[in-house]
Symmetry: C3
Subunit: 303 residues, 3 copies
């Protein structure tokens, strides 16, 4: 809704994103007609590549934000605009989300957005995370996650919002909401999304221990729906999409909304409180200290 004004002339938001300071409901985008004219059905941008096939009605969104598709505020902004754009295009019925980065689908929330930042900035960031979840979980499109790499934390959340999850059967990859391992906590709507997918008990144990599952474990617990060899993830996603699009849109959309509305309503009626809760938690000295230690550990590993 909020972003609709931005898209009276659709397609080709790329290059404009540096003007965005947020993807919250107060965003204003000044669309350049020239760029729009230049970039019809494919849009390319630093962090996202969208291929939309008009004939099939299916878009493929390649996340290409080096090195690991971290969900920074910039990335989230571009991502939300990209999804919104497809959502408003009635000819687009299905969306496949995948990664162009090797070995990783998305590494999840960008820790740099949570470390040493002002409360205001943290709040803007969190609104972006909420917005991503709302756009995906509430979408009228069929969304399939083609998980061709590891997908921890926010990357797992992104996958969980989709209608179907296909993962590369590579035992070096993992997926899960592992927030507690970093000393932080998955909020209620992360939890709700996981409970809706794997049930209460599997969620309880996964979130308390911050479990990361191998693909075969993830399949067993229901965190993903299908495993295929790595080079077949995208083709299988395309084939699976055909099956989903054989169902009349209106019946599928009403059904999807019926299944998800109570969960979505819980966040939409608590958005501001959830932002406040996140900001007051993440800006605590003890949590900032945890994040610093984690970042130093990462630095040592790389060094």
């Amino acid at each position: 809704m909020a972003l609709r004004a931005a898209f009276r002339n659709r397609r080709g938001v790329s290059g404009l994103l540096s003007q965005l300071s947020s993807c919250s409901s107060h965003v204003r985008v000044c669309v350049s007609p020239v760029l729009v004219a230049q970039q019809r059905s494919n849009s390319t941008s630093p962090k996202l590549k969208v291929d939309f096939d008009q004939s099939s009605g299916v878009a493929v969104m390649h996340m290409q934000s080096p090195p690991v598709n971290s969900l920074s505020l910039d990335f989230l902004t571009e991502f939300c605009i990209g999804v919104e754009k497809l959502e408003m295009d009635k000819s687009c019925r299905g969306l496949i989300i995948t990664s162009s980065q090797p070995k990783v689908f998305s590494a999840g929330l960008d820790i740099m957005e949570m470390y040493g930042k002002s409360p205001e900035r943290c709040g803007e960031f969190w609104k972006g995370v909420q917005e991503m979840w709302l756009k995906l979980y509430n979408s009228n499109m069929v969304i399939i996650a083609a998980i061709n790499g590891s997908s921890p934390a926010g990357g797992c959340l992104m996958s969980l919002t989709c209608d179907y999850r296909i993962m590369a059967d590579n035992p070096r990859y993992s997926i899960g909401l592992n927030e507690t391992q970093l000393g932080i906590v998955a909020p209620f709507w992360f939890k709700d999304t996981m409970v809706n997918t794997v049930g209460h008990r599997a969620t309880e144990i996964a979130l308390e221990l911050g479990l990361l599952y191998s693909p075969s474990e993830a399949l067993k617990v229901g965190l993903v729906d299908l495993l295929v060899p790595e080079d077949q993830v995208l083709t299988t996603a395309t084939q699976t999409m055909t099956k989903w699009l054989a169902i009349p849109d209106h019946a599928r959309q009403i059904t999807k909304s019926m299944m998800r509305k109570p969960t979505i309503d819980r966040l939409t009626s608590n958005r501001e409180a959830d932002v406040q809760n996140f900001v007051s938690f993440i800006t605590k000295d003890s949590i900032q200290k945890s994040l610093r230690m984690y970042l130093e550990m990462l630095k040592k590993r790389r060094g």
Copy 2:
């Protein structure tokens, strides 16, 4: 409740059903004492055959409405009266529901009741569907589904209301809430019943895609509890019933009510709105067109 007045002299409603124009809450049945006297423990009627064994306290209800036990308003009316009758008979503790028609348990809601009918008639029909669900899901009896054939849509719903589901292990049979495949939508209480049985995620994917499961798939997902060879469905149901009736009725009934009451309350407190919702949906031009195409497709298949 509504039907209770009709049964001061119970047993033997057969032959009276033609006087019923509805199983809604306004129904009035004039019971003929003569017929009642003639037909003690077995009642036979065009659409239903009930065998009640006083010694075991178990009734078997054979659905025999050719060709496929479609849930027409007439069928639902007779079915609800039959269940109500057994419910009020304190000597009847268990009910087994099965089919006399070959290859099918029940084909579900009769499409002819939804196509080209007045809003009033559609509303009466939907009240009948609600009534069937309420009678079965809220029953004090142990109810076992002996699913000896395919059981799509409303047939699946009927099975889901039971305490236990035994299905013929015949790979040509299928079961599921496949409404979306026809362009229509399972309402929230169909959904609630399925979530209570197989959980949120399995329901989401099943309802969005309108999945029909083979018996072995249905067992795996939890849609049925047991598979046996086709000729043993009814005998196994009888043996299983013995195990259930070994539990003291009052403890089992309180427990059953505790498990199901929130789901039942959701419909009873929204019945009228649910009827309005169904009527306004099903009488839409686009939905009527979908149904016409489906009916024409069926006609061609048969022709």
Copy 3:
């Protein structure tokens, strides 16, 4: 709270408990330095033996109330005080609950507390059962059940409140909420705890039939998390605890609370009504008669 009256004079957890006027959150303990010096990390009492290892932060609670660790009011009182004591000790981060009695973890609620007792006494008893559940399900500690024997009814409930359940792989043992088999009913919070663990449908069938599961069946349905040979139950629990304690306490505790708070709130906001409900049910003539028959059956077996 409920247990206060019970503790005016009572056997002591380490001889100090006679000074306790309550095990509620307002408890005040006047610690005797002499006794404390004498009994550092171990406390012994008739019904409970607690070994607390300061270095690991893990306490092991051995239930040793012959013959079968029945949950009498005395046992519950001592148990709640023991848990509360550990809960308040910030150096105690984990608790393992196990049995010193052969072949049984806990036989569940003591029927003698429910048979032939005054309504007042039944009410006190039930408050004790509530208190046990609240202390365990709401604990900030990691609690692991080391189930080294059968665990029916209240023993199963106790296990279900833990964070993780490890059971002896001995086919002669069983676990389950089998109340209906005795003609009594598991209340809504027993049911809620089980639904949170194994889901709605498995709970419905288990509670209606009063099912007792073998260890392998219990693992399959999710009632326990791990089976190990009988002599490895406690060592495995200790190893598992290490894994749980590797997670930062604050993040794990917030997560646990998020998962369990709605269930806990349902009881805390309905405690008094739940007591009244239990008392009016259990003091019914018909229920007392059921219990008398059950006790006579037990007597004959032993005799």
